[in-house]
Structure formats: structure tokens, C-alpha cells
């Protein structure tokens, strides 16, 4: 028959300490989890436009958004969000936005539903026609332009940023821009674009596909239509919110810049 030996006071004390430590760790873990969940809930419940004014919510957003951005977006937009000219992806740090005006809720829609990525809630309304092709635009009948007309429109576009060197050509280009070319329909009469459909401001200094005369001619002749994937089915609402706030923070001078 086995005989139970009495435990020494030291071993009882060690057991008690271990048990208390284990319980304490479990409680701390639970508390941290609950706090993290509360912060996440607060981030989801908050007005996205106001989050960056709150240091606590901003910290939560950046803590979640930065790694999520690195996983989902950095492949195209670069780890710093400064874009990649070879991939024609925009620099997210400046304050030029093709779609919308850089508000977090606008960015969130792009993160969720993409640009020309399939979902009907995405930004799919328009793309740049290829005026040097027989059928410039799949969506509706638009007449093509001649090489000379494209050269004139290029000159007019250059004139919007004070870079035209051929005044008569720019004048002819304006007529085409506002007439047969139908460019005004998306880029507006003054060339300042339409952020509702992703038509860029032609008078700005930021060019996604290059702003040289040659690049502009190429864009008019062969068209443009970039794609941003839709992540609605791949990420959680919290990640989408956090990524959009992280992106918004990149161009927001009042937000503490993340350490990269």
C-alpha cells in the first residue's frame, strides 16, 4: 500500500505561487483581449472622418492598419505607400486623389469594392477611352480622333499647367476637348476632373501615367484603366476600416507618422 508523504511547506508555497501566477496571466490576457475588442469596436463605431483627431483611436487604427496594409496593399502601392511608377500606382502620401477627396470613408469603399475589380459597388463608371483605336470606348460610341487632333489635344492639356509651347495647336485642342473629343464630359470644362468617376485633374502636377507630352499623347491614343482589387470578401470590416485610416493618415500632416 503506497504511503502518501506529507508535502513540504516550500513545495506547497511554490504550487500556490504557480497557481496564482497562472490565474493572473489568464486574467490579464482576458482583460487585454476585452480591451482590444473594445478599442476595435470603438474604431468601427466611430465616424471614420473623425478618427484621426483622436490619438487613442488613431493608435488602434494604425496598429491594425499598418500590418494589414503591408499584407494586402504594399505589393502594388509600396511598403511606404509612395506608389510605384512602373506599376502606375498612385503615391498615397500626397493629397491628390483620383476618386473622392481622401476621406477615410471614401478610401474604405475602395478598399472593400475596388476600382474596376468586378463588384457593382466598386468604382467602375468610367475609364479613359483610346482615341487612337477604331473603337475608342467599349461602354458607348465615341468617335476616334486623328493623330493631328490628338497632338492638338495634348498641347491643350499641357497648356492647362502652363506648359504648352504651341499656342495655335492648344487653341485647336481646346475646340476638340470641348467638342468632338467629348473630353469635357469626364474631365470637366476647365480640365479640373471629376473625383466622382476618377477623372484626374489635368491642371495638377501629379500624373499617374506620366505628364510629359509623349505620355499624355500615349494616354489619349491608347487609353487608361487601372485596377485596384476588391477586398470585401477577404478582410474583416475592422481591417478595412484600419487600412483606410492608415492610408488617410499617410497624407494627413496632423497624424503622427508611423515608424517605417
Amino acid at each position: 500500500m503506497p504511503i502518501k508523504r506529507p508535502r513540504s511547506p516550500t513545495s506547497i508555497a511554490i504550487s500556490a505561487v504557480l497557481a496564482i501566477a497562472g490565474l493572473a496571466i489568464a486574467i490579464v490576457a482576458l482583460v487585454l483581449h476585452v480591451q482590444r475588442q473594445r478599442r476595435a469596436d470603438a474604431l468601427l463605431r466611430a465616424d471614420p472622418d473623425r478618427v484621426l483627431a483622436s490619438s487613442e483611436l488613431t493608435r488602434t487604427a494604425l496598429d491594425i492598419g499598418r500590418p494589414a496594409f503591408a499584407r494586402r496593399c504594399a505589393g502594388c502601392h509600396g511598403p511606404r505607400g509612395d506608389g510605384d511608377p512602373l506599376k502606375n500606382t498612385p503615391d498615397l502620401r500626397d493629397d491628390e486623389y483620383l476618386y473622392g477627396s481622401g476621406k477615410p470613408d471614401e478610401i474604405e469603399q475602395i478598399v472593400l469594392y475596388g476600382i474596376r475589380a468586378g463588384p457593382s459597388r466598386g468604382k467602375n463608371l468610367a475609364s479613359m477611352p483610346a482615341y487612337g483605336r477604331a473603337k475608342p470606348y467599349a461602354g458607348e460610341p465615341i468617335p476616334p480622333l486623328s493623330p493631328a487632333a490628338i497632338a492638338d489635344v495634348t498641347e491643350f492639356v499641357l497648356s492647362l499647367s502652363g506648359r504648352s509651347t504651341h499656342r495655335e495647336a492648344a487653341t485647336r485642342g481646346r475646340m476638340i476637348y470641348q467638342g468632338a473629343g467629348g473630353c469635357y464630359d469626364c474631365h470637366s470644362g476647365d480640365g479640373h476632373g471629376d473625383p466622382g468617376i476618377g477623372a484626374p485633374n489635368l491642371a495638377a502636377a501629379v500624373w499617374l501615367y506620366g505628364g510629359s507630352a509623349r505620355s499624355i499623347t500615349q494616354s489619349i491614343t491608347y487609353g487608361r484603366a487601372g485596377i485596384c482589387p476588391a477586398f470585401a470578401t477577404r478582410i474583416t470590416p475592422l481591417e478595412a476600416r484600419a487600412i483606410s485610416l492608415y492610408v488617410a493618415s499617410l497624407s494627413n500632416p496632423t497624424t503622427p507618422k508611423p515608424n517605417l
Binding site: M1, P2, I3, K4, A26, A40, D41, A42, L44, R45, A46, D47, P48, D49, R50, G75, C76, L86, K87, N88, K103, D105, E106, E108, Q109, L112, G114, R116, A117, G118, P119, S120, R121, G132, R133, A134, P144, S146, P147, A148, Y209, Q218, T221, Y222, R224, A225, G226, I227, P229, A230, F231, A232, T233, R234, T236, P237, L238, A240, R241
Partner: protein, 297 residues
Amino acid sequence: MTANPTSAEAIWSTDDTAARRSLILCAAGAVLGLIIAGIGLFTAKGTRTSAVPAEDVALVNQVPILMSDYLLQLRALYDVSLTEASAEQKKKVLDDMIHEELYVQRGVELGLQSDTIEVRAALAGAVEAQVAADAAMAQPAEVELHAYYDAHTGNYASEGILELEDYRVAPQSRLQPPALAEALRHGANPAQLGLIRTATMQDGEEFYFAAKIHLPDALYEAATRLQSGEVSEPLRLADGIHILVIKQNTHPVPRSYAEVRDKVLQDFIAEQVKVLAAGNDRFLRKRADITLARGFE
């Protein structure tokens, strides 16, 4: 002598310290497990919940109305953010969204997806769009895109540009057509040779696709084969003999990968969409129980 610790009596004895401690720890573990399971069960998305998840503004028969959709509606209808929106605006938007959700659910109950053409088209389109979204999600590596470009370089050629003068030989011309062509090659004035300039392509440069529309096929074929500055051999057409003077012929050339990367990506994804859509179609057919009537096999 102590009691036998393996006996059932000793295990359940509350007099023994070790046994009492074991029972307490077991009970604590069970309670903790129940709490964790309860939290998981009653807050998990998709199960019946007592509270609206933070990412939603409402649950309609347990179907969430997403906060992001709600914010989008506020922006679309009133161009306001959540903070800027008034209580009336918020209520109106939420009421509208609940109304829509209720009607969608009622529509499904009534089987409208079987009866209404627009609903069927929208559903089919949404499934196709989801396939496209999956394809767009899989961002190809640059190596893959480059390989695709290399395999389809012809699709990414520039548009050729043609500028020419088309002359018709006058019936009463003193010189034979070959002599007229030769004279043109030596810089003779077409008008002095009695050649008649036709009305085609008088507006200068034209892209190949436009020239193909404006010129008869035989002239277009001949023109695109010639180089800038060359003069064609006389070409006999139904309306007479033509001679082309090629002012400029810029042949199509492959555009560089850097210039066309956006198009390559678009085409690559479009091809992926076709592959995925075909796979999806195969999967749905394989999974479905389709019985064909006699005579329709």
C-alpha cells in the same frame, strides 16, 4: 496510515485537501470554459446575437446592415459624414436601408428570383462579378505579366499612321501610267502630269484603321507596304488607274512593357476571369442535379 488515494471515496472526499483543491479547480475550469463558449456563441457573426456587432448598424432578421454601406448612403444622399448627419438624416437613411432589406428578404420568400427577369439578371451578374473580383484579387507577379506580354506582343502594338496623296490617271494622259509613276518618283509636279488628286485622305495623317475605311482595299494594302517618300506602281481599280504618293507611313511597332503594363494587367485578369468562370460553371454543373427531358439531352 493514510487513505488509499486511488479509491473513489478518497477522490470525492471533501475532507481531503488535495481532493477539495482538485474539485475547485475542475469547477473553475468548467465555469471559465462556459464563459468563453458563451462569449463565442453569443457574439459570433452569423449566429443569433443579443447585440449588434460593431461593424453593423442594424440586424434585420439577423441579416446585418453594414456600417460601411450606411456611411456610403449618408454620403450619397446628403454628402455628410456620420458626425455631420442630423438625427433626421440618420433615421431616414437607416429606415430606407431596413425597408430595402425587408423587401429583399420578402422577395426571396416569394421566390422572385425565379420570376423576375431583372432579379435573375442581377443575381447572375453578381456571381460573375464575384468571379471577376477573385481574379482581380490574385495580383500576378511581374514575371507572369511579362511572360503574358511576351506571348501577346502583337496585341500591344502601336497604331500605324499613314499620310498619302491618291492620284487618278486622266484617261487622256499623254504618258503611260508606269512613266507617270516614274516621273513622280523624280519629283515631277502631279498637276503638270495631268494627274487628278482624289478626295480621299486629304486631311493629312490618319491611323491605319481610319485609312482602311477611307481607301479601297487594294490601295490600302499597297499603301501600308510602301515606305515614307515612296510612290506606288499604277493600281487599276474600277474607277481608273491610281498612283499613291506616300508622304508618311509609320508602321505599327510593339510598345514597351512599361508603356502598356496597365493593359497587360487588364488582359491578364480578363483571361483569368474566363478561366475562373469556366471552372465555376463546371463546378456548379457538377454539383447540380440537372435532369433533362426526353428529346432535350
